[in-house]
């Protein structure tokens, strides 16, 4: 356990020392802030007309949740860029033997890397969540729905981090790892598109898709089925990453 924490803290320290992580955070924050302001302006324009409607959507539905939903789409590209170097970069720089010779097990190494990446992404989500939360100063937010959306986003981010780590373990080049992670995430996002176009929404193929399990959170529904889906996805991806480290230890090709 101490090994996992040590590696996670080390990853955070390394990320904090690299301009790349700061620039990535700045770009995402700027993009989300711009989107937040646009959504807020649109809401202010239509809000007088909403007053007369029964059960009209509020600022949470029209500004906060769409913003976080949009962040989920951005994370599909940001997380692979963040995780691409976690193992593939170590291999390329020749620093992986330091970890492999440390006596820490493969599961510890993978979990440490995973928590390192997830810590950064959760901090990013928390920063962006502050944008809609500022609205609480002047209006009333549906904090329950917002909390559910953030919980779903965190689970979704954990799955993306695990996929990114797995791709970084299997690819020899960081760029290839990022491309593979974006492709896998993209595939899992649209895998049920055909079924949905046919009007099928509850088949096995729908269960595989990421959006199927993220959307209930944005409606304020916290379902254990959805949490278990993200948990399974993350576990399988991390197990594959650990398996790959096993192979690397046995392959003489570090």
């Amino acid at each position: 356990m101490s090994g996992i924490g040590l590696l996670a803290r080390h990853e955070w320290r390394r990320l904090a020392a690299q301009p790349f992580a700061w620039i990535l955070a700045a770009v995402v924050l700027a993009l989300m802030s711009w989107q937040f302001l646009l959504a807020l302006q649109a809401y202010l324009e239509i809000s007088p007309r909403l007053g007369g409607l029964k059960d009209a959507p509020g600022v949470t539905d029209l500004v906060a949740v769409p913003l976080l939903h949009s962040l989920a789409n951005v994370l599909a590209f940001v997380v692979p860029l963040l995780t691409m170097r976690m193992i593939a970069g170590e291999r390329r720089a020749g620093t992986l033997p330091l970890l492999l010779a440390s006596g820490l097990g493969n599961a510890t190494l993978v979990l440490g890397k995973f928590l390192g990446a997830l810590g950064y992404v959760l901090a990013l989500i928390a920063l962006i969540a502050l944008l809609p939360l500022t609205l609480e100063l002047g209006t009333t937010l549906d904090l329950g729905k917002l909390a559910a959306t953030l919980l779903g986003l965190a689970a979704y981010a954990a799955a993306l981090c695990a996929i990114g780590i797995a791709c970084s373990a299997w690819a020899a080049q960081p760029a290839l790892a990022a491309a593979a992670a974006i492709a896998v995430t993209g595939l899992l996002s649209v895998v049920d598109a055909g079924a949905r176009m046919q009007g099928i929404g509850n088949a096995g193929i729908n269960y595989l898709a990421l959006p199927t399990h993220l959307q209930p959170f944005t409606r304020g529904i916290v379902s254990s089925v959805d949490l278990v889906y993200f948990l399974i996805l993350a576990t399988v991806a991390l197990a594959l990453a650990a398996r790959r480290l096993d192979d690397l230890r046995a392959s003489a090709d570090l």
Binding site: G3, L6, H10, R13, R14, A17, Q18, A93, G94, T95, L96, P97, L98, L99, L100, A101, S102, G103, L104, G105, R249, A250, S251, A252, D253, L254
Partner: protein, 309 residues
């Protein structure tokens, strides 16, 4: 712990990569206070052997024993007891020397409270004081190599494994590193791979020569290095001359004017020169003959050429 018991023992270890044999049936042992030099041309299997010795690469067959326990059945043993410097120092360029060494100490299980002292000790032993606050990415090759050694010793392991630590260093840096390796070898079990034969002669107690994955020679450096002296004369001398000199164990002619001379135990070259001058056969030159280590290594490394011919 018994100092004569091997810290590391490779027991008929072998490693394959597909159909290709990288290392075949290799057995070696290293005890505390003993430095083993691993020699071989590129592709001889040195790096593969070292990776197996320190738990990075699992052997295809055979056992790696660390303090008598199988390293691959108990991989956690490596954490505190092995320090490994790969061919390329595994440095994180965005960290300072001190930050990096602190991480390595923790990674190898040094208690949080003892990390500061361990890092300072490693910095002092590897003479890294002037770069302790510098980013690793900004260090020269020599300092990077020394930081690599420092990360291998920061947790005071029983076994230190250094893969070509002097590669790419200038002569002054190489000399300093040689002194450091010699010092480390006194307190730890140490394996060092190198291409540089004088490094082996200067730092190692024993030498193992690998060729095409096979251990072709293993023995003490001191024994291997005693190749006698080569004496050159301005005019021919008779074989009977050597029999009259009590310090000479054997003398063989190399040509009319050159002789290979082996001295008896305890005799030195000054006594030989004095005796030759007294006998009226002062040598024009007297130098230590090329060490047999070099001869042995070149013979093994060149055996392919001979076999091909």
């Amino acid at each position: 712990m018994d100092d004569t018991a091997p810290v590391l023992q490779l027991d008929r270890v072998g490693r394959r990569a597909g159909a290709r044999v990288l290392v075949r049936e290799l057995s070696l042992a290293v005890t505390r206070g003993h430095t083993l030099g691993l020699l071989g041309v590129n592709g001889a299997g040195k790096t593969t052997t070292l990776r197996m010795a320190c738990g990075v690469l699992a052997p295809s067959h055979g056992r790696v024993l660390l303090d008598g326990q199988d390293l691959y059945e108990h991989p956690h043993l490596a954490r505190r007891r092995i320090g490994y410097l790969p061919e390329t120092p595994p440095l994180h360029p965005e960290l300072t020397t001190r930050e990096y060494l602190a991480f390595c100490a923790r990674l190898h299980g040094v208690a949080r409270g003892a990390v500061g002292a361990a890092v300072e000790r490693a910095i002092e032993r590897c003479a890294l004081g002037e770069v302790a606050r510098r980013l690793l990415g900004a260090l020269s090759k020599g300092f990077r190599q020394r930081v690599g050694v420092a990360q291998a010793i920061v947790h005071e392991p029983a076994l230190i494994v250094l893969d070509e630590p002097a590669a790419g260093l200038d002569p002054v840096q190489a000399l300093r590193l040689r002194e450091l390796v010699r010092e480390l070898g006194r307190a730890h079990a140490l394996i060092v791979s190198t291409h540089v034969l004088p490094d082996v002669a200067a730092c190692c107690d024993s030498v193992a020569i690998l060729h095409r994955g096979v251990l072709r020679h293993c023995g003490a450096v001191a024994a291997a290095a005693d190749a006698g002296f080569e004496a050159v004369f301005a005019r021919a001398v008779e074989a009977a001359l050597w029999q009259r000199l009590p310090m000479v164990a054997a003398a063989t002619p190399l040509d009319v004017l050159r002789w290979r001379v082996h001295l008896r135990a305890g005799a030195d070259s000054a006594a030989l020169v004095a005796a030759l001058v007294a006998a009226g056969a002062a040598p024009a030159e007297l130098q230590r003959a090329a060490p047999s280590l070099e001869t042995t290594f070149l013979a093994i490394a060149g055996s392919d050429v001979a076999e091909a011919a």
